[in-house]
């Protein structure tokens, strides 16, 4: 591996870690607060990308306006899921999982009917890039994703640490029953968690739309990766999700570059199995939730 290839791979991995972290943190937040594995999380990511397709690529609105719209729209989708699916099924975690599968199929079909089965094209909002001395490249479009991930996740972290809502959210993620006993509104915290969790996935989809080719089925590989990340990181742990996103992205990117992509997927899954066997609560998870 030449030094150039090494540094380029580090940059590639940093980008991958950034968008995976946005998705995985939302995923783990929803799981933590709602107790539901949101199988439709990849489709929320897809919905974010299609918001940019519709507003920016088709209608010509400014890129960042479309990204903001994606954030809000997908956040609202999250609220809809909370209200229509997860609230009635609150004491039925498997039921929530199944309902999210149903929702996933509906979102995919809406995308197919509205935009067709083909991939969509989103032109880049800028072609500027940073070129390092040895020819290693970081494009602005990818930099946006990295900056957004750092910014949004820091904001989320501060919000969870400093605000009353954030405190309630963390309490619920740690122990729902105890939180309810403390007089917290489960409904409000659930709504908040769903909005934030979904919106993070939406933003990831919106920002990466010019970098991938959005299709109605783009969410599937992403949700599998998110699965691996939250298991390795620990189910209730937001910090774990971030750290493992970085770990996973680096391992996956380097294995892909050095060997091949299928092997990288197998390595990721084996890593997850190993963690499950050795420490089922994940590297950063504290308590067991069976």
């Amino acid at each position: 591996m030449t030094p150039e290839l090494f540094f380029q791979t580090v940059i590639n991995a940093t980008y991958a870690a950034s968008y995976m972290a946005l998705i995985a943190v939302g995923f783990v937040l929803i799981f933590g607060v709602m107790g539901v594995v949101n199988f439709a999380h990849g489709e929320l990511y897809m919905a974010g990308a299609y918001t940019v397709v519709a507003l920016y690529a088709d209608q010509g609105f400014p890129f960042f306006l479309a990204v903001a719209a994606g954030l809000v729209f997908v956040g609202v989708l999250g609220l809809l899921m909370e209200f229509a699916l997860f609230r009635p099924l609150r004491d039925n975690p498997l039921g929530g999982l199944i309902a999210s599968i149903g929702f996933l199929l509906i979102l995919q079909t809406i995308a197919v009917l509205g935009f067709g089965v083909r991939m969509e094209n989103v032109p880049p909002s800028t072609q500027d890039k940073i070129v390092f001395l040895n020819g290693v490249v970081l494009t602005y479009q990818r930099l946006y994703v990295i900056v957004a991930a750092i910014g949004l996740l820091t904001a989320l972290w501060l919000f969870l640490r400093k605000s009353k809502f954030g405190w309630a959210l963390r309490a619920c993620a740690q122990d729902r029953e105890a939180a309810a006993l403390q007089g917290m509104s489960i409904n409000n915290t659930a709504r908040l968690a769903m909005f934030i969790g979904a919106a993070l996935a939406g933003v990831a989809g919106a920002l990466t739309a010019p970098l991938v080719s959005p299709t109605p089925f783009m969410g599937h590989p992403v949700v599998v990766a998110a699965f691996i990340i939250i298991i390795v990181g620990g189910l209730g742990s937001l910090e774990g999700a971030v750290l493992v996103s970085i770990l996973y992205a680096f391992v996956h990117t380097f294995v892909t570059t050095l060997y091949d992509g299928t092997l990288a997927n197998i390595v990721g899954l084996l890593l997850m199995l190993a963690v499950l066997i050795v420490k089922p609560t994940g590297l950063f998870g504290a308590k067991e939730r069976a």
Binding site: A99, T262, L276, I277, A290
Partner: protein, 340 residues
């Protein structure tokens, strides 16, 4: 617990049994050609979903079942094609390989329970499935294209099992025997222990039940019959590929089981039959191909929201419609409830 209780239910049961046999025998002749094809696959899926239910008795939900079906399919296809093992024997080998794999997987997987087991089974399944796809193993598993030209079930006397109706009868017999075994297991001491592990695993352990061994047993039996279903599929369709056993297929198994309900033996069967008719016959004939996944999704959500017990929950209600509310509590109980 299986002593004959009294005469009359047995006669009713016998008549019911005869009726069922007649219906199953006549059914393919009342269908169109393409519906006969769908029927064969449906019978195979009945075995698949019923084998899945056995594991759920212990309270564990696996996401590896579709892959385990694939293990049976691959093993049986390879045994018959590469080693020239006769197909019926190859099918048993396929099922056994699937069962043996479940035995091996038990050691890591049953260190976990509930949600962790669910996720770990998914990971284990995906590792197996990706190894079928992996280019370095193409010489064995055929890569993403899988295995083609799998030997068909051999003719018996003059019966050509390529004909869907004949293969259907073969499947009905195989599946009926399998279901009988699954049913007997569930009603035996072992089955009762599964239930006990589900609801009271700490208690079961405290009275000396080795819960690990019972979980493993359920997983192995369940995998054996899933593998058998895979083998039946492989030698009928003649081609298998890794994509056929991916998480999407697993989702279908879950949907069938949950929409049907898993409290009773017949629940998953109702689920798979009803949803297959909806998907393959009703929705296709409406000519709305692009919208089929949406209908499926909507049905799923409606079922889970408004019929938490699945379609099986409707059975007693329908019975009551015809017979009126039960006067004698025992009579309206389903067979599985009666022995609990």
């Amino acid at each position: 617990m299986h002593k004959p209780e009294n005469k009359s239910p047995n006669i009713v049961g016998f008549i019911g049994f005869v009726l069922l046999v007649v219906v199953l025998a006549v059914l393919p002749h009342m269908l169109s050609f393409s519906q006969q094809e769908i029927l064969v696959l449906l019978v195979i899926n009945v075995l698949l979903v019923c084998s899945y239910r056995l594991l759920t008795l212990t309270g564990e939900w696996s996401l590896a079942h579709a892959v385990i079906m694939g293990v049976g399919a691959y093993a049986s296809a390879l045994a018959s094609k590469e080693l020239s093992v006769p197909v019926p024997l190859a099918m048993l080998i396929g099922a056994s390989v699937a069962g043996f794999l479940a035995f091996l997987l038990s050691f890591p997987l049953f260190r976990m329970k509930g949600f962790y087991f669910l996720i770990a089974s998914f990971a284990a399944g995906e590792v197996i499935r990706l190894s079928w796809k992996w280019s370095d193993l193409t010489f064995l598993f055929g890569g993403p294209k899988g295995i083609k030209r799998i030997p068909p079930f051999p003719d018996f006397l003059t019966i050509d099992f390529y004909e869907p109706v004949n293969y259907y009868y073969l499947c009905v017999v195989v599946v009926a025997v399998s279901l009988l075994i699954l049913y007997r297991v569930e009603k035996s001491r072992i089955g009762l222990t599964f239930h006990a592990i589900h609801w009271q695993d700490k208690l079961a352990e405290s009275v000396g039940v080795n819960t690990f061994r019972y979980r493993m047993l359920a997983f192995v039996i369940s995998a054996f019959f899933a593998g058998l279903a895979g083998a039946l599929y492989a030698h009928y369709v003649g081609a298998i590929a890794p994509k056929r056993f991916d998480v999407e297929e697993m989702v279908y198994i879950l949907i069938w089981a949950i929409v049907g309900g898993t409290a009773t033996f017949y629940g998953p069967i109702i689920g798979v039959v009803a949803l297959t008719i909806l998907n393959e016959v009703v929705l296709r004939s409406l000519g709305v191909d692009e919208m089929r996944p949406m209908f499926y999704g909507a049905v799923l959500i409606i079922a889970i929201l408004f019929m938490p017990n699945g379609l099986e929950g409707l059975v007693p209600k329908i019975k009551n419609l015809f017979t009126g509310p039960p006067k004698d509590g025992n009579r309206s109980l389903t067979p599985s409830q009666a022995t609990e």
